[in-house]
Symmetry: C2
Subunit: 193 residues, 2 copies
DNA sequence: TTTATTTTGTATTAATCATTCCATAAATAG
DNA sequence: CTATTTATGGAATGATTAATACAAAATAAA
């Protein structure tokens, strides 16, 4: 194939873009921010992303979706997926303050996009619904194997967990503190046991 | 007092500003938006708010805090404040789609402000902590009066409710639907009974 | 009625925004 | 070596941003 070789492949650009979008959100991140953090000039940037800022953001959250799919794969190979999920919630308490302040880029996007961009809002909502489905499946399995005593409809409990996830996204900013968070996480997980 | 009479008092400006901030958030709301929606020119605007956009936003969420204080006053005069709080949660399910998409301006602000404006972040976090305190107080009272069976530390349960509030702020955007929300709300409230 | 004081509306500024354009660089095919 | 193709960096564009400057308007005090 002819032509000058690509210096900034889209994967690298998306990774760097994701970092800054995660911190500042969609609107507050300028194209200048994106160029600075990726090291690319606007020429290269628009060469790889004809859709501009919006396209990169969409691909940023889709990349996060991939990370989530990886976790889902681990769950499928696990004996007790619900325990993995619970440990994941517990691990949140161990994060550092900077990470707490960033929160979850998907949950953040649902809040930001409502009256900013409808397509991106829907994209983020759908990812959260996939996570919810993963929660429900794990709970159903645990119920079938008699591993938990709570026999509430797994759909309700899955929604309980996704609600908790989104609530935790704010709680950790209020109390970016290991002790406090771990207490609350254990309390909420105890409902599903 | 001498001088041309004020045409746009600050209370009116804040009210109108709050509406648009609530919808679009801080960053996505331009000064042009604010001028259009208030009807004021930039002269009047900066005459009443030397601090510009940031000052109006701060006063917008402080005004929301006042509305919350009003509710707190009702609670103090009530026999069973926890029941009032529960009914308040239930009433969320009855809102229309537009209202669901707006969500809670304070919870929204905590998410948006983390890496945008530290002062405003703290302001919003403090308001949420006040709400949490109100939850805890109501729960303590209900426990003392033997009105509920759950005897978990009221602080933990207060944090459970504020976490739920923030989670609901996203869940209602995922499912802006009366049935779904009411189901989830009842399930979560059942924990405190 | 004149003077002092304050608000208002608009024009202006200066900065930043997202995007496009284009000459140049760097590769391959012929 | 030459022609062709593609990517790059940065200048240029035009829109939008937040904020200021200032003359005109509207009032009250003197």
């Amino acid at each position: 194939m002819r032509g000058r070789p690509v210096l900034y492949n889209d994967k690298h650009l998306i990774e760097k873009a994701q970092e800054i979008f995660w911190k500042k959100g969609y609107t507050a991140t300028s194209l200048g921010d994106l160029l600075k953090v990726t090291g690319a000039g606007s020429g290269s940037f628009y060469n790889t992303f004809k859709g501009g800022k919006k396209e990169v953001f969409r691909k940023s959250i889709l990349q996060r979706r991939e990370a989530f799919n990886q976790f889902k794969k681990e769950l499928r190979e696990s004996e007790s997926p619900l325990d993995l999920i619970k440990d994941f919630f517990r691990s949140i308490a161990q994060a550092d303050k900077e990470t707490h302040l960033k929160g979850c880029i998907i949950a953040n996007s649902v809040v930001e996009m409502a009256h900013v961009d409808n397509d991106l809002e829907l994209e983020a909502v759908n990812i959260l619904k996939e996570v919810e489905q993963m929660f429900s499946d794990a709970i159903r399995k645990a119920q079938e194997l008699q591993k938990i005593n709570n026999h509430t409809d797994p759909q309700i409990l899955g929604r309980y967990l996704i609600t908790f996830w989104c609530g935790l996204n704010t709680l950790r900013r209020m109390y970016p503190d290991r002790e406090t968070l771990l207490h609350q996480i254990e309390m909420q997980l105890a409902v599903i046991s």
